[in-house]
């Protein structure tokens, strides 16, 4: 008889036997490490977890996890995940995706998985470039970006992943940064705990094709002025000396300096549980360099979950027609007998 007590797993127990093949220095390593740590901390079961990915550098992720996994096709991971979670609500399902995978070829599935509120965790590694295909601009690349496919600079208006997710009424939306490991671990943990779809955008450095794309948010000397860690119920304060804040001026956020008659009470207070997504959307519009960019949980509300409702309908149908008999179905309606 095995002991009823489950063995305690370490982060390394979540590593598969495959060699990790990302470029040395890639931001993906930090995310992989945090994921394994979070799973160990949360006591998650390896056999009850499925990682589903699409195509791209980040999408190799499932191969490195000692869980169930599927490295699927470009952009479609949310659709596979929907099939898995709808049939097996007992499993924890992660979607690992990138900016090209989720927002370009997979934009449609991204949008629909979010609006349905399927209980899956979508983790977007945003490096603002196509890495696997060696350096073309992506849907999150900035206007004017010079790449192999845009020698005169990109003329595509980039998509803001968080704004898009909130536009689809995502119930859980968060942002973190690859090298900000403590914050990243906490954010992943909150996402995994959330019931319903959770969407996390991670600023991830591609040191080969787009090095330093997020240096404003990672460089120790300046990051405090360029990102703002938002927390539920707290005022929006940032800056190395925590002397700056965000105040609402009508419908517009503005940067103000604390002191000189402006106190914390004048600032915008974050409410991740606001029923309407308006505040979360407003925060998502704060972009560098005009504003510090928010990291943390922008939105976390409870909403009806697709997979749960699908299974509830099944249970209800079985309750209404107990002992559903296939012979009875075949013989229903107008039938006749030939002797």
């Amino acid at each position: 008889m095995a002991s009823a007590e489950l063995p305690v797993l370490k982060a390394s127990d979540f590593a598969s036997d495959q060699d990790v093949r990302w470029c040395p220095g890639c931001g993906d390593y930090a995310i992989l490490a945090q994921m394994k740590k979070v799973m160990a901390t949360m006591g998650m079961e390896r056999e009850k977890t499925v990682f589903v990915s699409g195509i791209g550098c980040s999408s190799r992720f499932p191969y490195y996890m000692n869980t169930y996994g599927m490295h699927s096709i470009h952009g479609r991971a949310p659709a596979f995940a929907t099939g898995i979670k709808s049939t097996r609500p007992d499993l924890t399902v992660f979607v690992i995706t990138g900016d090209g995978d989720a927002l370009s070829i997979g934009g449609n599935h991204f949008m629909h998985a979010i609006r349905r509120n399927v209980d899956i965790n979508i983790i977007l590694f945003n490096n603002r470039i196509y890495g696997l295909t060696k350096g073309q601009y992506s849907p999150t690349s900035e206007i004017g970006k010079v790449t192999k496919s845009t020698p005169m600079g990109s003329i595509d208006n980039p998509v803001n992943p968080i704004s898009l997710a909130i536009g689809c009424e995502a119930a859980f939306v968060a942002r973190s940064v690859d090298v900000h490991i403590k914050h990243l671990g906490e954010t992943l943990k909150r996402a995994a705990q959330h019931k319903g779809v959770s969407f996390v955008e991670i600023y991830q450095n591609c040191n080969v094709f787009n090095d330093g794309a997020f240096s404003y948010a990672t460089d120790k000397a300046i990051k405090s002025d360029n990102v703002i860690e938002i927390e539920h119920g707290k005022p929006l304060i940032f800056g190395k000396n925590r002397d700056k804040g965000i105040r609402l001026n009508g419908m517009q956020p503005e940067v103000v300096e604390l002191g000189k008659g402006i106190t914390e009470d004048d600032l915008l207070f974050h409410d991740e549980q606001a029923p309407e997504p308006t505040l979360a959307y407003l925060l998502s519009r704060m972009r560098h360099p005009e504003f510090p960019e928010p990291i943390g949980i922008l939105r976390a509300v409870d909403a009806p979950k697709y997979d749960q409702q699908l299974n509830d309908q099944l249970a209800l149908a079985k309750e209404q027609k107990p002992n559903a008999d296939i012979d009875e179905l075949f013989n229903s309606g107008d039938t006749w007998t030939v002797e």
């Binding site: 191969y63 869980t67 996994g69 599927m70 099939g83 049939t87 039938t335």
Partner: protein, 622 residues
């Protein structure tokens, strides 16, 4: 409810015995012609006839009233013998307006019964149909038995006092037409009266109006001097059993429900609405009590991908579509082949290419489903031959998919999917179970789990997420045989391509031999596949009755072919392959067996007329 065939009704007029009748209702797409046809079908089936139907409707939901483009038709054949097609020469036609007459008259046999709603043959309707003079008034219809019936007026009179609007009253006209046809063929009104009761339960005035219209039509036939005789078709000698009338799409769905239960699995359908496949989605969506999950996805791609997810998670997975949707699913199907997961893909074919003829039938997706994926990507393909056969086809497909761990493609087509015929109801306990096993849990110190280890049929194990110790990753990258890890080794790739192909070829060991109807060797073999079965079987039977040396073989499994096909093909001087495409099976046969074939091809959105096949065969036989 079950009855032992509802009797023919009594008439005071002469009753002429006939063996078979083909009737067509045609009118505006808002005239309720599909309903009229369905009611006559069910009633005839209940009366013990063999029946076959051919609904034919425009792609537009409501084309402008009275126009040629808006004509909708429903044809039904019922007979006192076994029939395999809904007929092509119409014995009796109901034309609700001039446009319907214009587009359908060519199919009415000389001397046939033509019932026209004379109230609609007025200036506007005639102009819309392009008639310069009223065909009811000139001599253009002299070679038919024309009955001009003022259906609109009679129906309005019948429903008087029920407080209906004019529009509501006119919507009862199809019941009047039904009543008249029911009288003409001695059909009982009871099944339709029961239908009205249940359909319009919440609209008592409408129910009453439809009942009155039906009875008035019937009584009109009995009392007016215009009709001097009615017809009677005796019961058919069908195989003993209990029957009900079913369409191919309904039976595809029921076959899937049965297959799920036979394999002790719950069914998951990922689908996106598309004509003419949506009825499978509709039918399965209302059968949740059998543990069926249906997911209307955001697009065709998500539909197939969600199903693959469900397959990985351990469910019986299904996606349904038609040609354009199948094109979109190509990459997903390739992944299912690569990951070696069992699932069913149904393609209810329609006229192509591109959007093509959405509501018309064709067999032109055969090469698409055989080869329409990147890389060497073989998949078993089975084609249903008739509405009834859709049931068994679903079961056979799942048996192969589950046994070999492979996606399986089912081909149906608009003709058999929307067409109906009597289905002999099986006992569930008589159906052969589909055994499926999954590997059990492993401890950390056991041998590592090999997700791509193979059995004697080259199938890999189906390991379910949630099982301790079987954690493994699947994906679209080439993998090394056995452990399933990503592998770019050249010899391994060659080995895996060959292995996946051999595995699919192994299905031939499971599908049984092909049967031939007629002489085992001789001058001519008619070889068919899919929905042309009925026309080919009827044509060959007719030729055999004439004393011709001709045989018929019908293929259900197209990939792989039955093992004895080669031997059969070599036993005849000529092989004729009739297809509703430009020669796709023919191309496969020529390639695999290096024989000459004679093609009979038609792409008009319509099934073959038996006569077309007979004429071609006679030509070859000399």
């Amino acid at each position: 409810m079950s009855t032992s065939t509802e009797g023919q009704t009594e008439s005071t007029k002469e009753v002429v015995q006939i063996e078979e009748a083909t009737i067509r209702f045609c009118g505006d797409s808002g005239d309720g012609m599909q309903l009229a046809g369905t009611q006559l079908t069910n009633t005839s089936a209940l009366a013990g006839n063999d029946v076959a139907t051919f609904p034919d409707f425009p792609a537009e939901i409501r084309a402008p009233r009275g126009t040629l483009a808006g004509v909708s038709g429903f044809q039904i054949s019922f007979a006192s013998r076994d029939i395999f097609t809904p007929g092509e020469i119409v014995d009796a036609m109901v034309a609700m307006n001039p446009a319907a007459l214009k587009t359908n008259l060519a199919d009415l046999k000389r001397g046939g019964v033509l019932i026209a709603n004379s109230d609609m043959f007025v200036k506007k309707g005639l102009e819309q149909a392009g008639y310069e003079t009223n065909p009811l008034a000139d001599d253009s219809l002299d070679s038919y038995q024309l009955f001009e019936v003022p259906m609109t007026k009679m129906t309005r009179l019948a429903v008087e006092g029920l407080d209906l609007t004019m529009k509501e009253a006119d919507r009862c006209r199809n019941f009047f037409a039904m009543g008249l046809v029911f009288w003409l063929y001695g059909r009982s009104l009871d099944p339709t009266l029961r239908f009205i009761e249940s359909k319009f339960k919440r609209l008592p005035a409408i129910a009453e109006a439809n009942k009155r219209a039906l009875n008035t039509g019937y009584n009109y036939g009995e009392t007016t001097d215009a009709f001097t005789s009615s017809y009677q078709v005796e019961k058919a000698k069908l195989t003993p059993g209990t029957y009900r009338n079913m369409t191919g799409n309904e039976l595809s769905a029921w076959g899937l429900i049965a297959a799920a239960k036979l394999s002790n699995k719950e069914l998951f359908l990922g689908s996106y609405p598309i004509t003419p496949a949506s009825d499978i989605l509709h039918e399965l969506s209302r059968r949740k009590e059998f543990g069926i999950r249906t997911f209307q996805a955001e697009d065709e791609i998500a539909a197939v991908c969600s199903a693959i997810g469900a397959a990985y998670a351990g469910h019986m997975a299904l996606t349904t579509s038609s040609g354009p949707g199948i094109a979109l699913k190509g990459e997903g199907m390739g992944l299912a082949v690569m990951m070696e997961l069992p699932m069913i893909i149904i393609n209810v074919q329609r006229g192509g290419p591109s959007t093509g003829l959405p509501t018309k039938t064709e067999q032109s997706d055969l090469l698409q489903v055989m080869f329409g994926r990147n890389g060497e990507c073989p998949m078993p393909v089975i084609a249903a031959k008739s509405p009834s056969d859709c049931f068994q086809t679903s079961i056979d497909a799942w048996r192969i998919a589950a046994r070999l761990m492979t996606p399986v493609m089912i081909l149906s087509d608009g003709y058999i999917a929307n067409g109906s015929e009597p289905w002999r109801i099986p006992k569930f306990s008589d159906l052969e179970p589909i055994p499926i096993s999954h590997p059990g849990p492993r401890a950390d110190d056991d041998e590592p789990f090999m997700p791509y280890a193979r059995d004697e049929m080259l199938a890999r194990p189906w390991a379910l997420p949630g099982t301790v110790g079987l954690m493994h990753r699947v994906g679209g990258l080439e993998k090394s045989d056995g452990d399933g890890n990503v592998c770019y080794d050249p010899d391994n790739h060659q080995h895996m391509i060959e292995t996946r192909a051999k595995k699919v070829a192994n299905a031939a060991k499971l599908i049984g031999p092909l049967e031939v109807m007629g002489p085992e060797k001789g001058k001519l073999l008619v070889l068919s596949w899919g929905g042309t079965y009925g026309s080919c079987r009827t044509a060959v039977t007719q030729l055999q009755e004439e004393g011709q040396e001709v045989a018929h073989a019908h293929i259900r499994w197209i990939n792989p072919f039955p093992e004895n096909l080669s031997e059969i093909l070599s036993s005849y001087e000529h092989v004729l392959i009739p297809e509703l495409n430009m020669g796709q099976l023919s191309l496969l046969i020529r390639n695999q067996f290096l024989i000459n074939t004679i093609n009979l091809n038609k792409v008009k959105g319509k099934p073959f007329a038996v006569e077309e096949i007979v004429v071609k065969a006679r030509d070859i036989l000399g």
